[in-house]
């Protein structure tokens, strides 16, 4: 049982990293970024690129990959999403779908579909770690949990305490009012996209080192999308319970039910949530009506 608990926390952390991207972008721009999973993949490939360029220097490679991903998020907003202002939100969502397809195709063109493992290039190992209670996780499992915790603490501190974070919340809530108060909401929206890129990249970097890297990883983004909806699409606080719930159902369905259920369990959770509380665990009802 402790192993199932440990695995649940690890899987939930990965989902939380990805789901944060959905929530940040949605809160700021009301766009469902369906390319979030592919932004995760992109982060993994940025790491591979950086690791190949500076082999044996993991800190530099990871920092480079994270910054490149944040820059990619910024550019996606600046070049693709901002021009959609004034058009129906639906059009912007379609842009993100197209973006996901293009990212995948670009990755295949450059790196082919071969499975990659950046870990040896970084000169790192991923030994197992025994936890109290007998559960075993990998080192990168622990790093995934740590990264998710650090990201959430950082985001909460940033959004609650920093002037920029407060402005970001204001712009997300009432962009027009924020603009009238002199807040550069375009910059804040771009920052949200950059942060989403960063969160996705963290997930991609950790997963690529822990499991594998290939162009199809973006499919995990769909499960994280279910997490974001279960938690409440406009609620960062909802991401953690949403991720824990979805991960627990997924892990327990393998242990006690049919392993095949694992793949669909996030969507079963989503369906159940939509039937009972369509705005999610911590989402706001008004937001759902706006959607």
């Amino acid at each position: 049982m402790t192993q199932a608990l440990a695995t649940t926390v690890v899987v939930a952390s990965l989902y939380a990293l990805l789901a944060t991207g959905y929530v940040l972008v949605y809160r700021a721009t009301r766009v469902l970024n369906l390319a979030q999973g592919d932004m995760m993949t992109l982060g993994g490939y940025f790491l591979f690129l950086a690791a190949a360029a500076v082999p044996g220097q993991p800190a530099l490679a990871i920092l480079t990959a994270t910054l490149l991903s944040a820059l990619a998020g910024f550019l996606i907003y600046r070049l693709l999403i901002r021009p959609m202002a004034g058009h129906p939100i639906f059009a912007a969502v379609l842009v993100t779908v197209t973006l996901g397809i293009l990212l995948r195709a670009a990755i295949v063109l450059v790196y082919t579909d071969r499975i990659r493992h950046p870990l040896p290039l970084l000169g790192l190992a991923n030994p197992p770690r025994r936890l109290p209670g007998g559960a075993v996780v990998s080192t990168f499992d622990l790093l995934t949990v740590g990264a998710a915790a650090a990201l959430f603490l950082g985001l909460f501190a940033f959004l609650r305490l920093s002037p920029l974070g407060i402005q970001m919340r204001a712009a997300g809530e009432k962009a027009l009012l924020a603009a009238q108060r002199g807040i550069n909401f375009q910059l804040l929206f771009a920052l949200s996209w950059a942060l989403a890129g960063l969160a996705g990249a963290l997930a991609g970097i950790l997963y690529a080192n822990n499991v594998r890297l290939d162009p199809s990883l973006g499919i995990l983004g769909l499960k994280a999308f279910a997490v974001a909806l279960v938690g409440g699409l406009d609620s960062l606080a909802g991401v953690i319970p949403g991720a824990l719930l979805v991960a627990a159902v997924e892990v327990l369905s393998v242990r006690y039910g049919d392993p095949l259920l694992a793949d669909v369990s996030p969507f079963l959770c989503l369906l159940a949530m939509l039937l009972v509380r369509p705005w999610g665990l911590f989402g706001t009802k008004e937001e759902l009506e706006r959607v």
């Binding site: 989902y15 295949v108 071969r114 493992h117 290939d214 499960k223 892990v251 095949l260």
Partner: protein, 383 residues
């Protein structure tokens, strides 16, 4: 003026059409992109490199081999469109893709009476005795036979000791059916079989599935799935401190991955010789594909053998080579694979898989600090 224009047009048509007809025209559909492409795209690349060499050397029987390539991404809808398109004017179609694409190709082959060669994807039932006259398969792996060999190997390694065997399948029909067959066969062979654990290919963490196998007390685990699932379960088992042995089907990635994992309890079986054996044919392929492919040379074995078989069939067919004559020619080929496989590929009128199939097992040998074969080739007679 009009007459001159018509004459010019007619001349142009002759120039355009004649060379295209005076060629062996083949159509190939492969999962060049898409989730399964890491398994199938190398076959496409091997074909391109192989027939470039053939054509550069003057072709076969004085005729060039013109291959039209289409990407089906491993999707049946795309495959159906490709089958229709490729059937037009071709004397043979090649499928190097997932089993989901087989049906439209077999339907088209049947309706057009067009020979169909599976090269790279798992061999369909129709290639085995009694074979469909139009269906051929050169792929090294074949359902049921792979399990027969794998379980025989496990039994041999157990050396009379009672062992429990677990099975890690992927949530695709082919993998599940194969390992359900293996589970049944294991019982018949006197091995203790643990029910098949089916693993979704998109799982974020293989640990729960590995835990299930470990908790069930598996001494051996057999996996026959796409590579990332096969290896994902093994790595999770290893992390959990499992002490058993793991046997998986060795896809093109085997050589890279055995060297990456350096795990002596990981065994990979397959029908192709690994390039680390450095046979003359391996050097030849490596030199030939240099700069021509996006995959490394040691991914080319599967496609290379398939291309060798096709070349042999076309040679035997002669010129002209209509599709019915080619089907008859293919049914009698015997191809020396020059060490890429354990023996020749021999097809007969009712066996389009091969008279004998060969398997070899590799693993990481810590004493040699390298990959080493576990014994030699094992031959199974296909009846």
């Amino acid at each position: 003026m009009v007459r001159r224009a018509l004459t010019l047009l007619a001349a142009l048509l002759v120039v355009t059409v004649t060379p295209a007809l005076a060629q062996y025209r083949i159509g190939m559909s492969a999962a060049i992109t898409g989730p399964a492409s890491s398994t199938y795209a190398p076959t496409y690349e091997a074909y391109k490199a192989y027939f470039k060499r053939v054509n550069d050397a003057g072709g076969i029987n004085g005729q060039k081999v013109e291959i039209t390539y289409e990407d089906d991404r491993g999707e049946p809808q795309r495959a159906a469109a490709n089958a229709k398109k490729l059937a037009e004017g071709s004397i043979l179609m090649v499928n190097a893709s997932t089993s989901a694409t087989y049906k439209p190709f077999m339907t088209e082959s049947e309706s057009e009476k067009l020979p169909l060669l599976f090269g790279g994807g798992v061999c369909p039932r129709e290639a085995f005795p009694p074979a469909n006259p139009l269906i051929f398969c050169s792929t090294s792996f074949g359902s049921k036979w792979d399990s027969r060999f794998a379980l025989g190997f496990i039994k041999e390694q157990a050396a009379g000791k009672k062992v429990k065997v677990g099975f890690a399948a992927q949530d695709i029909p082919l993998s599940r059916i194969e390992l359900e067959f293996a589970e049944q066969l294991a019982k018949e062979m006197g091995l203790e079989a643990i029910p098949v654990v089916v693993v979704p290919g998109n799982t974020p963490d293989f640990t729960p599935f590995a835990q299930k196998l470990k908790d069930a007390g598996a001494d051996w685990v057999l996996s026959w799935a796409l590579w990332h699932v096969e290896v994902g379960v093994f790595e999770a088992l290893q992390r959990l401190g499992w002490q058993g042995s793991y046997l998986l089907y060795g896809h093109q990635q085997t050589q890279d991955e055995l060297a990456r994992l350096k795990a002596p309890n990981l065994y990979a079986f397959g029908g192709n010789t690994l390039f680390m054996e450095n046979l003359p044919i391996h050097t030849e392929i490596t030199n030939l594909v240099k700069g021509q492919t996006t995959h490394p040379a040691h991914y080319m074995a599967e496609g290379w053998v398939s291309a060798m078989v096709l070349e042999a069939g076309l040679k035997k067919c002669g010129w002209p080579c209509p599709k019915d004559k080619l089907a008859t020619a293919l049914a009698g080929v015997s191809v020396d694979t020059r060490g890429l496989r354990g023996g020749p590929i021999e097809w007969t009128a009712d066996n389009h898989y091969r008279k004998n199939t060969y398997y070899k097992v590799y693993r990481w040998d810590p004493s040699k600090n390298g990959i080493a074969p576990v014994g030699g080739w094992t031959r199974l007679e296909i009846k």
